[in-house]
């Protein structure tokens, strides 16, 4: 049987990615990941087989981040926005054009939409699981997901029009 630790280690890459989407910034994301692992370990007795282990972990991470954001919102901002907003954009230039454009468009979305797209389209969570992770009603997940997809298409349409204009 796979141990709790091995399952946790197996989820680290996906958690790291979700952390990057939440924080938009690498250093903060690694801190979040570490906090998440610690909390998961402290609460391991609260997780019951055959519960959904992945959703449980993602929910922990999401909650830590949400609390951090609330806490930070009450303090004066100490980091310049430009500095903080380096985006999740990794090596854009190495990606295929469409992929790079999608990433650029994704970066323009609001946090709610980005989180949902990652959980459902990238991590493959069901609407029900995503609803649990985000503490939202399932119906909200469904409508928000549709809006996120449309918004992403709209931004990319805009990118395409800009390119056409430049070529002319």
């Amino acid at each position: 049987m796979t141990s709790f630790e091995e399952r946790l280690i197996a989820e680290l890459p996906a958690l790291r990615r979700y952390g990057r989407v939440l924080c938009r910034e690498r250093e903060a994301a690694e801190d979040l990941l570490q906090d998440c692992v610690e909390r998961a370990l402290r609460r391991r007795h609260l997780w019951r087989r055959p519960g959904n282990f992945r959703a449980w972990l993602f929910r922990i991470m999401h909650n830590i981040h949400a609390n951090d954001v609330r806490w930070r919102a009450r303090r004066p901002r100490s980091v310049a926005l430009e500095e903080g907003h380096t985006g999740a954009a990794a090596p854009v230039q190495e990606l295929r054009a469409e992929v790079g454009q999608t990433l650029a468009a994704f970066e323009q979305l609001g946090d709610d939409q980005r989180q949902l797209l990652v959980l459902i389209a990238v991590e493959g969570f069901s609407y029900r699981e995503a609803a649990r992770i985000l503490a939202l009603p399932e119906g909200t997940v469904m409508s928000r997901m549709a809006r996120a997809r449309e918004r992403l298409l709209d931004i990319r349409d805009g990118q395409a029009r800009d390119r056409v204009r430049r070529i002319k």
Partner: protein, 255 residues
């Protein structure tokens, strides 16, 4: 855009269809609709394409971190870079430490026990970090460096332990900088892929302890302090086998 108003099937439903969230009845309705509404079908494939691009775009984010091999070659990298990977590795190792084994050591006042606890922590951290890294290390070229690092930690007479009598080959390792000073992790593997690591670290105060065995969540650690040296052998094998390995390994450094 016309499709948004004209279609009896809403965009929400198309999106949910892409996500496989419709029950079979609605799914059939949507599929019928798609087969004779080109715009809706185009939208569904645009969603799918976009999801696919998004997965490709975000894939690299999952791989930044410890999944990089913790190989010796990387020791040349900037210290900060290594520190952040190690922090991650430490998180992985907390697995074993926060809950299970933690209680006895941080409460103790005795320096020997405290150093023993740190030693076990360092050794298990290194062990888990190595296991959760994907790297196979090209050892042949690095063997001499490992030997040199071991001499710095364990004394001029120390040689790389030969565990072949017990079926384990040296397959990798890395010099480390720990709070207590330089340390070395040596990684051994047997034919069935079982990994055992030998960890050598400094022992600040001249504490001595006999071999101690810690078991935590399927990982065993045998450790001891002697002279200026802390020594720990970690693996998911029985404590008997681990003890044999530890004793054989210790001969290589005691000269």
């Amino acid at each position: 855009m016309k499709d948004r108003q004209a279609s009896p099937i809403g965009l929400e439903e198309l999106s949910a269809y892409v996500d496989g969230e419709l029950d079979s009845g609605r799914r059939a309705v949507v599929e019928r609709h798609l087969s004779n509404h080109g715009e809706a079908a185009g939208r569904v494939s645009a969603y799918r394409r976009q999801d696919d691009y998004l997965r490709q775009a975000l894939a690299p984010l999952a791989d930044e971190g410890v999944t990089e091999p913790l190989a010796i070659a990387q020791q040349r990298r900037a210290r900060d870079d290594r520190a952040s990977r190690w922090r991650m590795a430490a998180a992985a190792a907390l697995l074993l430490l926060v809950v299970g084994a933690g209680s006895w050591w941080y409460q103790t006042e005795r320096a020997g026990e405290r150093r023993m606890a740190e030693l076990v922590h360092e050794a298990v951290t290194a062990h888990v970090a190595y296991l959760s890294s994907s790297g196979a290390v090209n050892l042949r070229s690095e063997r001499s460096k490992l030997a040199e690092a071991l001499r710095q930690v364990a004394g001029a007479r120390a040689v790389l332990p030969d565990l072949t009598p017990l079926g384990y080959e040296l397959t990798g390792g890395m010099p480390l900088d720990e709070a207590a000073g330089p340390a070395v992790l040596l990684v051994y593997r047997n034919r069935s892929g079982e990994v055992v690591t030998c960890y050598f670290g400094r022992n600040g105060p001249k504490e001595e302890t006999p071999y101690a065995i810690k078991e935590s969540h399927g990982i065993n650690v045998v450790s001891r302090l002697e002279g200026g040296l802390g020594y720990a052998v970690t693996g998911s094998v029985t404590s008997d086998e681990l003890m044999k390995i530890a004793e054989l390994g210790y001969r290589a450094i005691s000269g």
